[in-house]
């Protein structure tokens, strides 16, 4: 019992150290063996254990033999096993509680509570769904943070949703089939009968930083997946849905697919020729700027479709030919005007008040409050159109059941240039009083038949949706997405109000004087007073 602050190396100390190393290594080795089977870690640990125990036996033979036999051994063994039993009990309790997922969200913004909207979505699940996460071990910490969030989904869905994590480095083929781009990519998919994720019904989770919204929207997309089909018209020289060039529409086409929509092509001309109809499952038909105008037969195909509650997304452009699509006096234009109060004018939109490079590259200057594009905000992200066509909406409804309206307009300075010939040949556009229509000019309009459920969105431009221009402004994408959402009514099936995380947390406002007082109090006063109290007590006591 002498003070012993120096360490001298003796045989017994080496032996003791060996016994310690051996014991720890043995424990690690056994755990590793149980966990991974025969692996480098378990083999190294067991080898180390052998070396440690051998050192113990060689350098402290008495201690070693005493350990093997006698009371110390008995006591140590009892202690060792009782410790193991305690660890076992703790581990069981831990695993049990973890399975129960008992959590209590203490954040003001309820960041870890599923919103009512999410719970509504989960209630509609009928088939087992799997959340598949591709994480490498490098992003393990991120995975664990995400996981506790997904666990909420699992428990809220009564285990209908399950979680599965894969290491893309280990299963590169599968990762490729899922379309993994980066570490941490997430997917939601139905489970097929054999318990594997169905890669044909996949919904990618787009990460925007709002976990709940991202995940719930992905599940939503999965729910509607396969049930909503949108057709692209392929007749009349339309823009190609699969065309990947600057003028093609592959961007929005793929975006719709990733959103869970089924897309397909149809040919209105051949349907009209064979006397057929637009497929029964078409939730919306897109006419992506046909070049040639529609015939009577084709219009009646569209009419029959609308009569049974169809939805049309019509994009039209200024075209300088006589048989241009939707010409002012054409069959389709007349049909739209007399039935839905919408029509296109043979006039180009010029807007010196709100445009980009030339007055022909107009911005969505004014957006009327509407149900079609609730998210389009011209002040932050306007849609950009180039060489748009002027539209007109009837002032009174053509039929009692039809409601219509315009939702994108030019500024007051805008006008509709009637002289297309001159515009086409010399690129001049001046407002001619009495001929040209003064602004604001309508660029986008909608109509709805409340009886049949038919919906129409008419936009006097198609460039904004092309691969080359959809990226010019966020507004372009929003306009398309919102229009499709409205036309297909998927927003009626799922309404999701995102949780507003990170909003409403306090920002601190202080003037310099009070900031200085605060700094002084916190950095100087509090620690110093603790120190002074300590010194005072110490000084008083040391005199005693």
């Amino acid at each position: 019992m002498k003070p012993n602050d120096t360490i001298t190396i003796t045989r017994s100390r080496v032996g003791k150290f060996g016994s310690f190393v051996g014991g720890v290594a043995l424990l690690v080795g056994i755990l590793a063996l149980l966990w991974t089977g025969i692996s480098t870690l378990s083999l190294i640990s067991i080898a180390l254990a052998a070396v440690g125990i051998a050192a113990w036996a060689i350098f402290a033979p008495k201690d070693f033999s005493g350990f093997i036999t006698g009371r110390q051994a008995r006591q140590s063994l009892t202690a060792f096993f009782s410790t193991l039993i305690l660890i076992g009990i703790v581990a069981m309790a831990f695993l049990y509680v973890r399975e129960r997922v008992i959590t209590f969200d203490m954040t003001q913004s309820s960041a870890f509570t599923l919103s009512r909207e999410t719970l509504d979505v989960l209630r509609r699940l009928a088939r087992p769904v799997q959340i598949t996460g591709f994480y490498t071990s490098r992003s393990l910490a991120a995975r664990e943070i995400d996981d506790q969030f997904f666990r909420l989904y699992e428990s809220a869905s009564n285990d209908l949703i399950t979680r599965r994590y894969l290491d893309p480095d280990e299963v590169p083929a599968l990762a490729q089939r899922f379309g993994v781009i980066q570490d941490g990519d997430l997917f939601v998919s139905y489970l097929s009968e054999d318990g594997t994720a169905d890669p044909n019904a996949l919904s990618r989770v787009f990460r925007s930083g709002r976990q709940e919204r991202d995940m719930t929207e992905a599940i939503m997309r999965l729910l509607i997946a396969g049930s909503v089909t949108v057709y692209f018209d392929e007749s009349h020289g339309t823009r190609g849905a699969l065309d990947g060039t600057q003028v093609g529409l592959s961007g929005i086409h793929n975006g719709m697919q990733e959103s869970g929509l089924v897309t397909a092509g149809l040919n209105v001309t051949s349907i009209a020729d064979t006397g057929g109809d637009i497929p029964i499952d078409a939730r919306a038909v897109i006419l992506p700027r046909p070049l040639v105008d529609f015939t009577e037969g084709e219009v009646s195909v569209l009419d029959r479709y609308l009569q049974r509650g169809g939805a049309l997304f019509i994009m039209t452009d200024v075209v300088f030919t006589q048989d241009a699509f939707l010409r002012e006096t054409g069959v389709l234009n007349n049909y739209l005007w007399s039935n839905y109060g919408l029509r296109a004018l043979d006039a180009a939109v010029v807007d010196p008040g709100a445009s980009t490079e030339t007055p022909l590259d107009i911005l969505s200057y004014a957006v009327v409050s509407n149900t079609v594009t609730p998210r389009l905000d011209p002040s932050t992200a306007p849609a950009v159109f180039s060489l748009a066509r002027a539209l007109e909406v009837s002032s009174s409804s053509p039929r009692p059941s039809v409601a219509n309206g315009r939702f994108i307009m030019t500024s007051e300075l805008g006008f509709a240039e009637r002289n297309l010939e001159l515009l086409g040949s010399t690129n001049t556009y001046v407002f001619d009083d009495g001929i040209d229509t003064p602004g604001p000019i309508t660029v986008a309009a909608w109509a709805e038949d409340l009886e049949t459920g038919a919906r129409i969105v008419l936009i006097g431009d198609s460039d904004f949706a092309s691969n080359g221009q959809v990226v010019l402004s966020n507004g372009n994408g929003i306009l398309i997405t919102d229009a499709i959402t409205w036309l297909t009514s998927i927003d009626d099936e799922v309404t999701f109000a995102p949780v507003t995380t990170g909003i409403g947390l306090p920002l601190v406002a202080m003037d310099d004087a009070s900031a200085q007082i605060l700094t002084f109090t916190v950095v100087v006063l509090i620690p110093l007073s603790v120190l002074i109290i300590g010194i005072a007590i110490w000084a008083r006591r040391s005199r005693a």
Partner: protein, 243 residues
């Protein structure tokens, strides 16, 4: 119970009368104070202050702070010979260990409680909009975390009569239990990495308590670590009797 109470009382009294304890408290308050000022300073540039900033600091600081508190607990008793007297008193070994642990934890609790003043200040200067519940959650977490660190430190204090060795080994162990959160960066096998990570203290704090999520499993984990470590410490103290 009497033994626990008596030993706890002596420990607390010795903290309150030791200059060392005040020095540590002052140092911790100085560092956390600077951190706090820094944190709200940044929040003036439009970033909301992190309610868990101070607890997050403790999670790291405990690597050094906890061994400093625990190194003397049993090692000193053994060196001064008072352990012999304690062990020959009609008191159970567990009362000795639990009493000492409770004393150290209480001291830690007091220091932690003082830093909660920052949250109150923040509440005032942010017009009552601070996420106080989130902060409280992080504090509950770091309080349990601290208890677990102290329990780990006690094992080493009981295992050696050299205080420096006890502190060094405890620091090393706590460092592993902290850095282990990032084990995935070195171990490619994700299941092994996950298992190891699950054993670390940091993983049961950083991804739950610190972000405002109170999870029963983490409470069970920390309580379990404390129980196991104290059990081992008690066995180590008891081993004095086996010789």
């Amino acid at each position: 119970m009497n033994g626990v109470r008596t030993i706890f009382g002596r420990e607390i009294a010795s903290y309150f009368t030791s200059l060392f304890a005040y020095l540590i408290a002052a140092a911790v308050l100085l560092i956390t104070g600077i951190l706090f000022i820094n944190n709200i300073g940044r929040s003036q540039d439009q970033v909301a202050p992190n309610p868990a900033a101070i607890p997050d600091f403790f999670a790291f600081a405990l690597i050094f702070f906890a061994p400093l508190l625990t190194m003397r607990l049993l090692a000193e008793e053994r060196r001064e010979g008072t352990l012999e007297l304690l062990l020959t008193s009609p008191t159970s070994d567990s009362s000795i260990v639990i009493g000492k642990f409770a004393g150290a934890w209480a001291y830690y609790t007091i220091i932690l409680a003082i830093t909660f003043v920052y949250q109150v200040i923040l509440l005032n200067i942010s017009q009552g909009q601070t996420d106080l519940a989130h902060a409280l959650c992080a504090y509950i977490g770091i309080w349990l975390y601290g208890g677990a660190c102290l329990a780990v430190g006690m094992v080493f204090s009981a295992a050696t009569d050299n205080q420096i060795v006890a502190a060094f080994l405890a620091s090393a162990a706590l460092f592993l239990l902290w850095i282990g959160d990032r084990v995935g960066e070195v171990i490619p096998n994700i299941n092994v990495a996950r298992f190891i990570r699950e054993l670390t203290l940091q993983s049961h704090y950083a991804s739950s308590f610190a972000v405002g999520l109170l999870r029963a499993e983490d409470i069970v984990f920390f309580a379990g670590i404390i129980a196991v470590m104290l059990f081992i410490t008690i066995r180590l103290v008891e081993s004095n009797r086996w010789r």
